[in-house]
Symmetry: C2
Subunit: 366 residues, 2 copies
């Protein structure tokens, strides 16, 4: 592990370029080997330079979460975008979608007859320019309908003038210990049932889109034709603790300085405090996680609390407590929300700064 370049002022997000490249290549080649297409979710990084690397490695297009993200990546040359979200259009959003479709191939998600009818009403004849994928619920119980109910929505999409491209699902219930294997099998079964239902109703099913970083490299029973992982480019503490990435695969860390240090005694815990809190790392902390982040230099340390600008770290009793002013790297629990908190990241290689990238799509929630 290289030390943090001296010129870095903390807190700051660092990206190890060589690990990033390796992660991108590995996912691309494994998905290709299985004969699937890769449409990585760029909400993770929101950085056009990384999207360009993903496309060069063979991604067929990009997945985004919002119209705003689609606009940013189209501004940077993306020509094939899937908004993997059950959009409810306003007149203003319909107008933005229409403008987007002039410069990129756009598909979006839906999980109701009402939403697709409203979209058709607002887009009018322009509906023909858009692909629609019906969202199905493969066990996460967020958005998405039962596979058997997808055909009625596809019928409504066709009636509203859209091109029905297929179905998609997000197996978000893979984010728990022991669950990735189960989730990928449920994803496969759900996509299969939806495909049968759609074909019986006379729809072509070009795309069966699934996948998340915890499940993308599992073969399982999935019948997906396309995968949409996002986190794999960086890795994070959730993926580490789920066993879905190795410590040496983590390409993004938060450089932080020890600002407070306490040997502890009595009811006072032995701890250090780092100058990166929830406004750098994000506040995500699933019940099964060992803490609010991980310390790259000390796997047995535990981030026991996160304030906005403080990470409180309980240090193992048998390891010397780091000195005040020393610098460590934190691995966020959920990297997608960490990147969204800063305006730029610093790219490093062999311990030296090589580039700075703007988070071009930061905050594009609408």
């Amino acid at each position: 592990m290289h030390s943090i370049p001296e010129e870095i002022e903390t807190p700051a997000i660092l990206i190890e370029r060589d690990i990033l490249h390796r992660n991108i290549e590995r996912m691309a080649s494994r998905v290709r080997e299985r004969g699937l297409t890769l449409r990585p979710h760029v909400k993770t990084h929101k950085i056009p330079q990384i999207a360009a690397l993903q496309l060069e490695a063979g991604a067929v297009g990009l997945t985004v979460a919002t119209i705003g993200e689609a606009e940013v990546f189209a501004d940077h040359g993306a020509t094939d975008l899937f908004i993997a979200y059950p959009l409810w259009l306003s007149a203003a959003k319909a107008e933005r979608l229409r403008a987007l479709s002039q410069r990129a191939r756009i598909a979006f998600g839906t999980d109701s007859v009402e939403a697709v009818r409203e979209a058709g009403r607002l887009l009018g004849p322009a509906a023909a320019d858009f692909g629609v994928l019906v969202e199905i619920d493969s066990g996460h119980h967020r958005s998405g309908v039962r596979p058997e109910d997808a055909a009625a929505i596809a019928d409504a999409a066709r009636a509203a003038g859209f091109r029905v491209a297929g179905v998609f699902t997000f197996p978000g219930h893979s984010y728990a210990p022991g669950m990735p294997g189960t989730a990928v099998d449920q994803e496969g079964a759900a996509l299969d049932r939806a495909a049968v239902a759609l074909r019986e109703a006379g729809h072509d099913v070009e795309v069966l889109s699934g996948g998340s970083t915890p499940t993308a490299l599992l073969t399982g029973d999935s019948v997906a034709t396309e995968l949409r992982p996002g986190v794999y480019v960086f890795g994070d503490a959730q993926q580490l603790e789920l066993g879905r990435c190795a410590p040496e695969d983590v390409s993004l860390t938060v450089a932080a300085t020890v600002v407070s240090r306490h040997e502890g005694s009595g009811d006072l815990p032995r701890r250090i405090v780092l100058d990166a809190g929830s406004k750098m790392l994000g506040g995500d902390r699933p019940a099964w996680a060992s803490g609010f982040a991980r310390v790259q230099e000390e796997p047995d340390a535990r981030v026991s609390a996160l304030s906005e600008h403080h990470a409180t770290v309980l240090w193992p009793e048998d390891a010397p407590l780091p000195a005040l002013g020393s610098r460590l790297r934190l691995i966020p629990n959920h990297v997608c929300v960490a990147v969204n908190l800063v305006d730029e990241v610093t790219v490093v290689s062999d311990g030296a700064v090589v580039e700075r990238w703007e988070i071009a799509a930061r905050g594009r929630n609408a």
Copy 2:
């Protein structure tokens, strides 16, 4: 409750101007009635227009968390700033502090002899331009030393050329059910012990600074001279569930649209999904909270899960499920992290948009 103005595209943060003004006035008058000074923490809002209202209402100055926040508020005319954080200076940060001290009265926190010595070394004779407050631990066990250990740090600060202004503490352990009363008493006891220790060592103790929104309006045993609440301007779901603000005191909400709707059956929960997730609301979710946010229109609804762009809301069985496309207001659990996610907020009054404010200090983590 006014409806969400039609021109608002979701998700978006709305601030009710009249409630905001009332919250600012109430805290200012209650603190004044107790003969204390108010130095509100502006990390909550990061908005110069709100800081101006707080100063007009009688605040003696502002509290910030970082040098970057201090710079933004100084740019907007603030002249008295306390960085309530145990700074560890680099050469670059020392230079920024020095520049700041040319245009505002600056004090900062410390909790170690090492940090204050390093600051003195880097600032040189300019140290005399800064006040230092020693941070003590009143029960939160984050940063801060035992009250009895404050004198040695004050001695080191004086030796390094700083003006010792007093002590400060953050009773963060007030953020739990039943804890605000206990925390305010422990805060008072700790400040008192630190003041005794400092005076015995020959230091003037001008400022005993404490307070947080959960404790600021409790009289308790506090001997504080100054309070630093932040959240009170907006309120949030944490304060509601701690009983520290009333529903009608919440001035900030996230306008969101129902994008997915499921009556539920079998193992599928009855729910709606709103288009505001952790990238709008923040991911903070203490174990004692009832969910990841609250729905202003339906107190019995529960936000059971938060993805980046989805809030999954379990709706009470005896209430009709809102229609697709309808718009609701979410109350974030922790408002400070929600505001930090957007570039601007929309100010409303009587159901109409009256202003838009930039989050000038968003993302100023360093």
